[in-house]
Amino acid sequence: MKTFWQTLSRVFHKYLVWSLIGYLILMFILDLVFSYAGAPERIREVSSGYSFVILFCYGFSRVWRFHPAFKKDYITLLTLSPWNSSKNLPRGPIHPFWADAVIISAFMLLTLLFPVYNCWILPMYFIIGYNFGMLISFLVTRQMRFVAVYILLAPFVVYPHFNSTIVSIFVLLLMMSIGLYAVKIYLKQFPWNTNWWKANQLEELRTKAIQERVAQWPFQDLCDRNVFSIGYPLGVFIAAASFWFMHVINWYFYKLNGTQPEGVFFMMISFYIAMFRFGRYMLKYHPPISFFGRFRTGRLIIPGYDIVLVGPIAVLIAGIVMPLLLKKIDAPHHIAFELSTSIAIFLCLACPPSFEKWHYTGKHRIAKIPIWPTRTMRTNQVNRVFRNLVK
């Protein structure tokens, strides 16, 4: 019996207890309010929403709390101990087990007090949260093939059946099974290849100095460091995934409301994408000569610098001009807007020059744009002041 409670308390985090207490108090108050207002059935909507959120968070926390990828001290513990993938994880399993079933069942019983719509589909929200946690863990541990599988599969939760709970649950369970299989495979590859995983203290300190904005202009801009750049394969993948998601969302709205999102919505996305590319490439990297200086000196085009404008212009053409032209020739909605927006995303990510090439070889001048150090640094400073006061 003692082991039962111990195991249960391991997965039953204090936040879950607080959210359940919050749930009960809120529902009790709302029940009174809605009864007083003469709309007692409204409690069902709120209770459903709140239950879904609790179970989603619980599912997510099951991965977040038990997966070693998210805890630095856990990684150290596993690295220094004789643990290997054939042994159980010391802080508990990542996969769901009987304690989860007990908690979900207990919660479903609790909803008898404040009923929800379709009580029996509540576990589905646990699985959604769990799968979301798994997706994040794949990203952290750089298991990109499983990220791709998850992104590919996720829309099938609603597409193309729209309203079949059985199919949704089947897809979610399939994703969960793939996730658990993935964990089994990549636990064998421990320790994984992530930045903080390699215990390269110097690299970590370097990055920290830049991340916390201690090292700034010009040292940060002129030292040799890794500059994140997206290559063609990843650009193609992100654009294809965006197309897939946009298509499903578009389709879902159509099924729900009988109308598709306005084309201008997609064009706005392309506009913001172009602005993002423009800002990322030009905010810190200014032209060697001012705008008016170009006219005065007759150097209207500076090829080494102006190449940076090709990306945003291409995005605007693909995302705004192209759909308007396609609409004129009565192209289908998904070709006109979804495809053109995906092409715009691809161009934003992969149109040359890459950000790394621009950073190192662009004919620009690196501007002094001071950024306030991060909160960590300020907190350290406050701590120091307090320590000095205490001394």
Binding site: A209, R213, A215, W217, P218, L222, D224, T297, I302, Q381
Partner: protein, 256 residues
């Protein structure tokens, strides 16, 4: 080796550097001198990689700046550029700042800490090293910038006016002695802009004189004397080079 070849640079329509060429051999210490606003800082920023020339190019150890990612990365590993006024994060302590800059250049951690401690002591910052930079005076801010640049132990130092900006006499002495030692070691190349001739003469292997966007001369102090036929102080040599008529003008002015 640093090689500046036929470099042109404009600010708006004003040409600030006109077809400038300069060569700095490995282990040399070169001081750029000349009137204000004549392109010393611009030339240093071009060498340092902050600016890109409109025409011409800069080579570091036979690698052309901004020609390829690999070449640029290789250059950046061995060169540190300290502008006149670098951005100093106000909430960070001097020690944290110097260590952070040193880490960018992959200095071994233990050595970095020791060197930083020594530099902070040399520049009389040891008592303030754990206070935030916002509490530093102008001179102390200048000092911490210099400490950070020296802590990198980069083999090529590009320093814009390291002696100006409110440095006290002990810091001036300390910096000139450090630079002198580096010049003697012959494994560190230094290019710096210095407005005060007295500080330059005992340090620099060569002095490059810039005026009107052009390099008027680049030689040792004695070489410049021979070139100008002026045997006086370096200040007089510079005046002869930059403003050949200034002595006559002053005499005429004093005559009334």
């Amino acid at each position: 080796m640093i090689k500046v070849e036929n470099v042109w640079h404009h600010y708006g329509i004003r040409p600030i550097l006109k077809n400038v060429s300069l060569q700095v051999e490995e282990g040399e210490l070169i001081a750029l001198m000349g009137p204000n606003g004549m392109g010393k800082s611009t030339l240093l920023a071009l060498i340092g990689g902050l600016l890109s020339p409109l025409k011409g190019h800069v080579e570091i150890d036979s690698l052309k700046r901004r020609s390829s990612i690999e070449a640029e990365k290789s250059i950046r590993k061995k060169m540190v550029y300290l502008p006149d006024r670098p951005f100093l994060p106000p909430d960070v302590t001097g020690r944290e700042y110097a260590l952070a800059i040193g880490r960018l250049y992959d200095v071994e951690e233990q050595r970095l800490m020791e060197q930083t401690d020594k530099l902070l002591e040399i520049f009389d910052l040891d008592k303030n090293s754990d206070s935030s930079i916002s509490s530093y005076s102008t001179g102390q801010q200048k000092k911490i910038g210099i400490c950070a640049a020296l802590a990198t132990e980069a083999p090529i130092l590009v320093l814009d006016e390291p002696f100006s900006g409110g440095l006290d006499s002990s810091a001036l002495l300390a910096l000139s002695q450090i630079l002198k030692k580096l010049a003697e070691r012959k494994d560190v190349t230094v290019v710096m802009a210095v407005p005060v001739p007295e500080l330059v003469e005992p340090l620099a292997h060569k002095i490059a004189v810039i005026a009107e966007g052009k390099i008027l001369a680049c030689d040792s102090a004695n070489g410049l004397r021979q070139q100008t036929g002026c045997s006086g102080s370096l200040l007089e040599v510079l005046e002869t080079l930059i403003h050949p008529k200034s002595r006559e003008n002053i005499s005429e002015y004093l005559k009334g």
